[in-house]
Point group: C2
Chain length 601, copies 2
């Protein structure tokens, strides 16, 4: 069965030619991210992903995590892999050096995380949540809590979770009922049930630090009455040693379609009646605001999962298409041919290859903007970068994950009947991918955020600014004069126009027909994603063309840059071609979607 090989050259091309690794490394605090250091880390991560994590992916799916009254047992090999992961210091790659992190750019971390997620998505969720918990604690916790918890989270010796969802409170966190009772010593006792808690219980680490949303007594109703608490699985003594088991219990794990090796837990707080000891993080009733900051990081990380699974889908499909011999060539051949020779299989592989390239370029570019937003000296530059990140985060989450599902589907299609049988691991890829458009906010929630908060609220200003930059890229391509670049610029220009039409409709009608506009929110998100992806493909083509013109092959590979031009042309012909249809749906599709009375359904 095919295993995973990190696409290092493609990653480096994006890092260096498209997302501005050099500029990021010039930001104060990121001086360590020298080209040599970056290359060494990428190589090391590639070895760990391919050599340690990928071999556990299929077996982890087959065995799954197992719950009994003693706790959750992870699949064979996961504990050892996690210990190695911790020993290598991967958890703290981008974390604050003050707490033991390496303080490297998020841009580099994005590439490294892509590898974990491609190699073994179920495994990768554990450090992803730990990183998120550490960042939250760093943001809002008291110095004492930081000193006690952060070093062990940053090292990965302890793991973290996010406890948001309750049975009646999924997308709608306003409905949260878990409660926290203040104690005289300044601590709190928590009571309530949380569901869908990723890695809520497992046997990989000595302690787990739960971040839990709950209500204080007499808290205002709705989202303005939710506070955030740190609740350790085992209490921590003043000397930092582990104390008693807290009143936190994992009562079951879900039987899910995919990510079988990632335990999805039902957690009970305060079941013994005593209450789970917890500590308030940040101000009372401000928990959701804090959680939202972290959720944006998590949404970006889930977008990376979409990219990572797309890369894996591409690799699996290519390996099969080259080795499976079946049928004669349509133009005539005496012998049977590998199925990669069949034009429709080619089309599927190119759809996977090019959309993965587009996602990677866009995701890394957003990661670089995250670095700029936190490390630029000029506040105006920081704000500009932050606005770009805000605008693109729901797009990265929604578009990359929806596309990943399509590509996982194509990967299975390339495999035919062999893909439907679990042994090839392709079905697992499809099953694993399916969660990504749901957790950390469904695609509908992302589209809601994009249309309401990111486009309509500022009258489309941020988006208009971005479209102007995109149009500049078109002009640059057209001015270059090469036929390939012109072939790419024209459909991109038309697609940007389609996006502009849709955006204009949204901005003009959000106030008067919010329901009709929201019917088009997901088509708009997809339109935005594929146009932004097309912009990245155009930038890649331009960078490639300049290298071809200057006779400077990327990393000495003379075939690499010409292939980027082909990718961009294919993307224009097969992906950008759908832009106008999506725009039409945004503009025309509101009324007919809403007209039927609910009783009709």
């Amino acid at each position: 069965m095919h295993s995973y090989t990190a696409p290092l050259r493609d990653m480096r091309f994006v890092l260096k030619e498209l997302s501005g690794l050099e500029q990021v490394a010039r930001l104060p605090g990121y001086e360590d991210a020298t080209p040599d250091m970056v290359d060494a880390i990428l190589e090391e991560a590639a070895r760990f992903a391919g050599g340690v994590l990928a071999p556990l992916n299929a077996s982890g799916d087959r065995t799954g995590a197992h719950w009994d009254k003693q706790g959750v047992t992870m699949p064979p090999g996961f504990r050892e892999a996690y210990q190695q992961f911790v020993a290598n210091g991967w958890t703290g790659l981008a974390a604050n050096p003050e707490y033991g992190g390496q303080g490297l750019p998020l841009l580099l971390s994005a590439a490294v995380q892509e590898m974990w997620k491609s190699a073994n998505m179920a495994f990768s969720l554990c450090p992803m949540l730990t990183i998120g918990a550490a960042e939250t604690i760093e943001l809002v916790a008291s110095d004492e809590l930081k000193a006690r918890y952060l070093p062990l989270l940053v090292s990965g010796e302890w793991t973290g979770t996010m406890n948001l969802t309750e049975p009646q409170a999924g997308s709608d966190l306003a409905a949260i009922r878990a409660r926290a009772e203040p104690q005289t010593d300044g601590t709190y006792r928590l009571f309530g049930q949380k569901i869908f808690i990723t890695y809520g219980e497992h046997d990989l680490a000595a302690n787990t630090v739960h971040l839990v949303l709950a209500r204080l007594p007499n808290a205002p109703a709705g989202v303005k009455g939710i506070s955030l608490f740190l609740v350790p699985k085992r209490l921590v003594n003043d000397d930092g040693s582990l104390g008693a088991q807290n009143d936190v219990l994992c009562t079951s794990i879900e039987n899910k379609l995919g990510i079988h090796a990632s335990p999805t837990c039902v957690m009970l707080y305060g079941e013994s009646g005593r209450g789970a000891e917890g500590y308030l993080l940040g101000a009372p009733h401000q928990g959701l605001a804090t959680m939202f900051i972290m959720m944006n990081a998590a949404r970006f990380a889930v977008g990376l999962e979409g990219l990572a699974l797309s890369e894996l889908a591409y690799q699996k499909a290519v390996a099969y298409a080259k080795s499976r011999v079946q049928g004669r060539a349509i133009e005539g051949s005496t012998d049977s041919v590998p199925i990669i020779r069949h034009p429709d299989v080619r089309r599927m592989l190119m759809l996977m290859r090019t959309q993965t390239e587009a996602m990677r370029a866009l995701a890394y570019t957003v990661a670089a903007a995250q670095d700029a937003a936190s490390h630029e000296v000029d506040p105006a530059e920081r704000d500009r970068s932050a606005a770009f990140v805000d605008l693109l985060t729901p797009v990265i989450k929604g578009w990359c994950t929806e596309t990943a599902n399509e590509l996982a589907n194509l990967c299975l299609q390339v495999h035919g009947g062999a893909g439907y049988v679990e042994e090839t691991g392709v079905a697992q890829l499809l099953r694993d991918a399916r969660i990504t458009t749901i957790y950390e906010g469904t695609t509908g929630i992302q589209a809601n955020d994009l249309v309401g908060r990111k486009v309509a609220r500022d009258g489309g200003a941020a988006l208009l600014g971005l479209m102007h930059v995109m149009q500049q890229t078109c002009v640059t391509l057209e001015e270059h004069g090469s036929e390939d670049l012109a072939h790419i610029a024209k459909p991109l220009g038309r697609a940007i126009d389609a996006l502009a039409q849709a955006a204009e409709y949204i901005v003009n009608h959000y106030g008067t027909d919010v329901r009709g506009v929201m019917v088009g929110s997901v088509p708009f998100l997809r339109l935005f994603g594929l146009v932004a992806g097309g912009w990245m493909m155009a930038r890649a083509a331009h960078a490639a063309q300049l290298r071809i013109d200057a006779d400077q092959p990327f990393e000495g590979d003379v075939t690499f840059c010409p292939a980027k031009l082909v990718s961009a042309r294919f993307y224009a012909d097969h992906v950008l071609s759908t832009a106008m249809g999506l725009a039409r749906t945004v503009v025309n599709g509101g009324a007919s979607a809403l007209e039927l009375d609910e009783g009709f359904f």
Copy 2:
């Protein structure tokens, strides 16, 4: 958990208003299909599907079929349900009365099969294959074999299979290696391995009749050297009683993504060295031609699976969207609302509802044409109907199954996290649906057939004829004068133009650039499907408008016909809007897909 309720009113609307049930019932031989008879059969089938088959769907998935050396054990309840199915005579609904069938139209049978497939797709595969085997035997077997095997297949007391695939021969049957050795008594002994044999072994019936593709000694290489054999699991004595076990063995079943209750078998013929006793069906070396006739019926039936799973997806999504309360209304509400109130959920439900309507109308219309092709008196009319069936069969198979996968995906999306957990049964729907674009020829194979044999071969003549009929529908709608109908006719007209452009490109370039044309084969198939579906939606809207004009509500339901107008408008805004993009891909997308050297992948 939601169970299945047959959408009888929608089915009757299509049968009576769109697919010409009345005309079919006037064909010689179909006189029994009176309105009363049809309604009674539909009601009875709905009861059986909802009451007997649907309750076994989830448990069948959970338990699955089990193999051991004694054979295959079906999940609890399947045996009893199958016995009831046989006792009710469902297998023979459309079969020849000469062998115990009821000889009813395929149009009626299509509606009834839709119900079995929605209620329990894994179960439905058993009678589907039995019907296919019986039809094949009727077509080419000797009178003696017919007399011996047909009555028990038509009654369902025995079941049938199709044995085509071998490990090296999937889509490419030319590579078949199974061999048949002639015996002095006129029988044959078969040797070889077959894989992916649906219901190759099970405990539902006393005997199984395998139709097996194999090569005679000195047969020509490739597809022209394949013969078809009837190989019973147990030999049949001259008096019709069951004799010895034949040399046929199921050595394992596949661990699949879905349809767990349908055993997918590895079959060994002649493992004991004796060879499996079999009987030649039809002429030597003509097996593939016979199989292809049957495969077209099977492809249509798999297209019906796409329709059926789409209906189920819609029903499940609606049930959840009405009951799940989450979030406030976007236009403002004090309380939380059922999620059907959210515009994006509405959009998803309407995508499911309308595309299911379009698929049903097109599939039933093709079924009616099958009846006309076999029962019309006028040979020219028979030929015209047969040509329509030929043209549309790959579209029904490819478009309905691809769409079903999209809709199953939307159904899961409506459910959010609850859909990702296996308990809700939504994940099963997605897993079950995933096989439909693969077996009986992948979508790529269907598109190959459509573009090569059905469009390019006759220079687009059959398609042009059909597009002319579609355009007439547009004219009819525009001439009516109502705003709704005009709103539907315009985008349909544009979509037909897009189809015409794509078809013209195919016809003009198939001879000179077959590989480039074939890159666009699947986009073309999808374009064809969605335009044909739009034509059906327009016909439905027109029929509904005429009833509204005449104040004749369908079955007395005054809300039914207005809803059809909304459906058609939504379909135009959200589905037909993608037509031009697909056409562009067909026309422009060949070169960039094929340009990269295979070594690049």
